[in-house]
């Protein structure tokens, strides 16, 4: 292990091991918070039955972008916010044991690949930078980044899992190469070598599985540079496998491997479940644990009821701030706490973003400062480590989103 790796922060503790059987939740949901800025046009009504991969709604600006049901279900509830923004669309799953015929798909052109992903609900797996939205159907990416690393402690470990799905992964990568004239970068942890014939257009890059070098923003900074004039798309390795499964079987794959942490004391385990699963359903059968379910990295510390679209871990945590020390020293105050610099903060943001000046600019609402220090290339999830490590307790993700909205409006 090279000495310089220590500067990239501590190793990410990813979860490997056997994957448990499919946990079929009673209900799943598609959440508006996963798709910033999305306004929807509904294709179903409450009570309708939909098949797995059946369209539920589409983007009002781009009717080609379909959002689909991850499994056979009945539409239970549709909640819309102001301006036809999606709040939540809840589906009650219907158990479906009828065997479906698998038939591989063949694609001839790049346009075919695009149409397939758009129509079959896998387009929303892409998020573009800058700004983090789902790319427009006709948008061109200067590069596509496949994130095949555990980004946070407790995430499923691609180093352990990816070798089991090499064929589907390679199929997915081959399709991605049709979508862009630029390079497709597959970013893998150091030591993971996959034998994938026929994916010559894909550039494989290896990164140490440490805090800073596991972030997609780190890979983009090092391999691509600023995204302002050369936008990139990112996609998670499990979504690439889902694309590969769509190509080899012709069926929409709405299941993902997630790491479940029923309590901080218990060992995490891997299980298959459906996108957007209800968290109480996921933890059913586990002994009663701490009260607060969290979707995504544990350090997000935000109570959730559903598994987020881009989340691959779920946990139950104790309510923060109830230790004896907290009660003795910290009185609940309304004013923000200070940002006290310490060394761990420095490796919590992608390279080239000076952590303390950047977090100060975000706290102060200094749009110019945020942009100058590289904020345009970041999205909420890039700030999670910094948010966790910073003494201020500020919700930097929400602040960054407001800044990004302002930058976007100014364009």
């Amino acid at each position: 292990m090279p000495l310089a790796d220590f500067r990239l922060g501590p190793r990410i503790r990813a979860v490997g091991g056997p994957v448990g059987p499919l946990i079929l939740p009673r209900s799943v949901a598609l959440l508006g918070t996963d798709y910033p800025g999305l306004r929807v046009e509904l294709r179903v009504r409450e009570g309708d039955k939909v098949a797995a991969g059946g369209a539920l709604f589409c983007d009002r600006k781009h009717a080609e972008v379909a959002f689909v049901a991850p499994a056979k279900a009945r539409v239970a509830k549709i909640e819309l916010g102001p301006g036809r923004r999606l709040s939540a669309l809840v589906l009650d799953l219907v158990r479906d044991d009828t065997p479906v015929e698998a038939a591989p798909l063949t694609l001839k052109t790049g346009d075919d690949a695009r149409q397939l992903l758009l129509a079959r609900g896998l387009w929303p797996a892409f998020r573009r930078r800058p700004f983090g939205q789902i790319p427009a159907p006709d948008a061109q990416a200067a590069a596509i980044f496949v994130h095949a690393m555990a980004g946070y402690d407790g995430a499923p470990d691609p180093a352990a899992l990816l070798p089991q799905f090499v064929r589907e992964f390679a199929e997915g990568l081959r399709l991605l190469a049709h979508l862009t004239h630029g390079p497709v970068h597959a970013c893998l942890p150091v030591g993971l070598t996959l034998s994938m014939p026929g994916v010559e257009r894909v550039r494989i890059a290896h990164f140490p599985p440490r805090r800073q070098s596991s972030m997609a923003a780190h890979h983009i900074t090092l391999l691509h540079g600023p995204t302002r004039d050369r936008p990139v798309w990112t996609i998670d390795w499990q979504d690439v496998i889902a694309i590969g499964r769509l190509l080899t079987t012709g069926l929409y794959a709405g299941d993902r491997i997630v790491a479940l942490h029923p309590s901080p004391a218990a060992a995490p385990r891997l299980a298959r479940t459906i996108l957007g699963a209800s968290l109480p359903d996921l933890f059913e059968g586990h002994p009663a644990g701490p009260a607060i379910p969290v979707s995504g990295p544990v350090m997000r510390e935000k109570q959730a009821h559903w598994l987020g679209r881009y989340d691959t871990q779920a946990a139950r945590i104790a309510a923060p701030g109830h230790s004896l020390m907290h009660r003795m020293f910290g009185t609940p105050g309304g004013t923000p706490r200070p940002i006290l610099p310490h060394a761990a903060l420095d490796a919590s943001l992608p390279p080239g973003v000076p952590a303390v000046p950047f977090l100060r600019a975000l706290s102060a609402g200094d749009l110019d400062g945020v942009e100058r220090l590289g904020g345009r290339d970041l999205i909420e999830e890039d700030l999670l480590h910094a948010q966790y490590l910073c003494t201020s307790g500020t919700d930097y993700g929400a602040r960054l989103r407001r800044m990004l909205e302002m930058m976007e409006a100014a364009e």
């Binding site: 600023p226 000046p357 100060r360 490590l389």
Partner: protein, 255 residues
């Protein structure tokens, strides 16, 4: 390893690092040292509580380590009113007017000590004994491990100090000169809030502080380091700004 997520946790680590040097100081001084310590703690607590209550803030309790640093670095013969006045100035003007520790850019203890030397001509600071230097080492190790002292600052500072002293005297300085400097370096110059916030800036900041300290050594090592900490701390935001401009220039040239 514990993750530092609250200001009071950082204060606790800082106090832990200060205990051995404080113990050495108190055993060297006896009862007079205790009186000074009690007064310093009382003054700092009063200001901390007044300001945090007025602002509905969580107290960070950081004025306590500031009081401990000041106690170690002042002479036991200092009168209590002078101590109280200087500490009040340091805590209020150096820290609380900005909104408390972490919102400003100065070290309250360094401001207090500089005020003492300027406001009361003839006042000297305590020249650190070698024992104090040795007693600071575990604290320095703790702060480095906790990330509350940046190794870049310490290394650059040592370099700057060595270069500066070598230029002054023509010969490299011995251990006898370095040991008394360790306490002030650890708690005043290498303070993460007063230091520069960018990586390159930390090298520049440390080196500049070392050179300044070497320049001021005729005043006495303690005074030299206090003024070096204060001046380098004042320059730190400028250093960061220069570093960031240079980086942004490089980035836009690349993009």
């Amino acid at each position: 390893m514990i993750t530092l997520r609250h200001p009071w946790q950082i204060t606790l680590v800082l106090i832990g690092a200060l205990i051995p040097p404080l113990a050495v100081t108190l055993t060297e001084r006896g009862a007079a040292g205790l009186k000074l310590l009690a007064a310093a703690l009382a003054v700092s607590l009063i200001w901390d509580l007044i300001f945090t209550r007025a602002r509905w803030q969580q107290p960070s309790w950081h004025s306590l380590p500031a009081a401990l640093i000041v106690t170690v670095m002042t002479l036991p013969t200092l009168s209590l009113w002078q101590l109280a006045l200087a500490l009040s100035f340091g805590l209020v003007i150096g820290e609380q007017v900005f909104g408390g520790r972490g919102f400003g850019f100065l070290n309250a203890a360094a401001v207090t000590l500089a005020f003492l030397v300027f406001a009361f001509p003839g006042t000297a600071l305590q020249e650190a004994s070698p024992a104090l230097g040795y007693a600071t080492l575990p604290g320095l190790a703790l702060l480095l491990a906790a990330g509350l002292v940046f190794w870049r600052v310490v290394v650059a500072l040592a370099l700057g100090l060595l270069v500066g002293l070598a230029m002054n005297a023509g010969t490299p300085p011995g251990v006898g000169l370095v040991l008394p400097a360790i306490f002030a370096v650890t708690f005043l110059v290498a303070d993460p809030v007063a230091s520069a916030a960018t990586q390159a800036g930390r090298w520049l900041y440390g080196f500049a502080a070392g050179l300044l300290a070497a320049l001021f050594t005729p005043l006495g090592m303690a005074e030299a380091l206090v003024f070096a900490a204060l001046l380098a701390g004042l320059a730190a935001p400028l250093i960061d700004d220069i570093v960031i401009r240079a980086q942004v220039g490089r980035r836009s040239a690349r993009g």
